[in-house]
Symmetry: C2
Subunit: 299 residues, 2 copies
């Protein structure tokens, strides 16, 4: 079954120890789509400005991403400028220009409102809520957020969390949302806020999965040269939700496998700037790295 993702489409300018790039195609919905598309059909819901390069639209279309609910409006496309120093786990935001995100009104096509698998990537919790209001029969709902919303719109975020099945957060976000330092305590706390499944991403340290029936963890796939981690979390979520969307019923075996696919997909993302390493990724690439990953972690 197909998946609908709500998130940002951005122009990212990034500096890392391996170089700098200006106004690359980026944003949470884009990175999510790059890995989700490998497993299923992806409908991208977002907003761009009149300045958005046509070549990027062509590229997304060519990748099979459905763009009929992507709004193009007066104003500037969302831009993010960031830097990574030695610690590639933490981005330093240099500038954010919200542009058209300031006046984001959803326009989801009627036939897209019937889609049951939904991922609410990082945007204003109010927009996330209104997307859910729009949908006819949400099935599997995944949710992501970021520290900015935790600090500035916590109440609204908590309301959306009550409507989510699966909540993904990085370790910092999980800690600041729950005031628990121990990540298992934090995960337990997050479960009490609504979602049935909590996934805590720890960047280079892998991931923790927590639900009532299953506790599970994986290290990150070993990457010797992290070129640009921007979008790794979204790429992770894309494979996770993309794979789960293809399952009729989700059992613990599917969840384990989805997490492994997600880990492997994210490892490709960080090896290049922007979508460089994920744009041509195939299922075969992922399966082949999954085999190596199994050797890397099973005992």
């Amino acid at each position: 079954m197909s998946i609908l993702v709500l998130g940002t489409v951005a122009l990212d300018s990034v500096k890392t120890p391996y170089g700098a790039r200006k106004e690359m195609l980026g944003g949470s919905a884009v990175h999510f789509s790059m890995s989700a598309r490998i497993f299923t059909k992806v409908i991208l819901v977002s907003i761009i400005g009149k300045d958005f390069p046509q070549k990027h639209l062509k590229f997304l279309h060519k990748k099979g991403i459905i763009l009929a609910s992507l709004i193009k409006t007066q104003g500037k496309t969302f831009r993010w400028q960031g830097e990574y120093r030695a610690d590639m786990n933490a981005a330093i935001t240099l500038a954010t220009e919200l542009g058209v995100l300031n006046s984001f009104r959803l326009e989801v096509r009627e036939h897209h409102r019937k889609i049951r698998n939904i991922f609410l990537a990082n945007v204003d919790p109010d927009i996330q809520a209104s997307l859910l209001d729009t949908m006819h029969l949400p099935g599997l709902v995944g949710l992501d957020s970021m520290n900015y919303w935790i600090n500035n719109k916590k109440k609204r975020l908590l309301k959306v969390m009550q409507r989510a099945d699966l909540f993904v957060a990085n370790d910092q976000e999980a800690r600041s949302l729950t005031s628990e330092h121990n990540l298992y305590q934090a995960a337990k706390c997050l479960l009490r806020l609504g979602p049935k499944i909590v996934v805590i991403k720890k960047g280079e340290h892998g991931v923790i999965f927590y639900s009532k029936g299953l506790m599970f963890s994986l290290p990150a796939y070993p990457v010797h040269k992290v070129v640009d981690p921007t979008g790794a979390g979204d790429t992770f979520a894309g494979a996770l939700m993309g794979y789960l969307s293809t399952q009729k019923k989700i059992n613990s075996q599917h969840l384990r496998k989805a997490l492994a696919y997600a880990t492997v997909s994210a490892s490709f993302n960080v090896e290049g700037f922007g979508v460089n390493k994920t744009k041509d990724l195939t299922r075969q690439d992922i399966e082949s790295r999954l085999k190596k990953f199994r050797l890397f972690t099973n005992f």
Copy 2:
């Protein structure tokens, strides 16, 4: 085959969010012994002062630890005082009294010098080197150190590293020894310094294993309440080296399993103060948690 460990025997005073304890039995050689003894016979080489409580000696003897090369001398036993706040990964050292460690001269019994499996736990690299000089035919040599020696006696430490087969370090130590932030790059760098095997411990984030033929990683065993992490690294090393000491030839399957035993053993250690949770640990306890750990991480 038995294993000889050189390290400290200490009286530890520790404060954590779960309470405080004064002058507990501790030290690198003690924590190492607590898990290594589960797999093989342990010979403890260290030094204590006249003030060392007799009950601790009785306890170690009762646990089967061979104490014939443990020196008792004039002066005070080594004492460490530390605190852990929310981030249980990092100890804050409040006080260190070296005491008898200041004048540590090895006195290893002749029949102990024939032992082939050796672990050089964290002490002055010069003492580690002189232990190796003392031994007749070192076989498997494991080595640990700490930031203090990396900063103050790096050259001497590098000399000992050339004589070690297996080097264990925590992530900070690996980074500061190699000036590499990426831990795989750091591990590669450490391999060039002599050891054939590098194990990087990441506390709550698990472990990375790196050798020419095998790259391997495990998350930490999930612990919901980290009471006192003091000695977790030594407990880890004890099970790792203890299990490997029982193997005639070491292959990659043994290494994976040793790392899993080590991870599980360390998880017991952090659940209680000092040696509280490791002092009565049995092989059965470890095997049973290993089973759970497999479910926790295999996909």
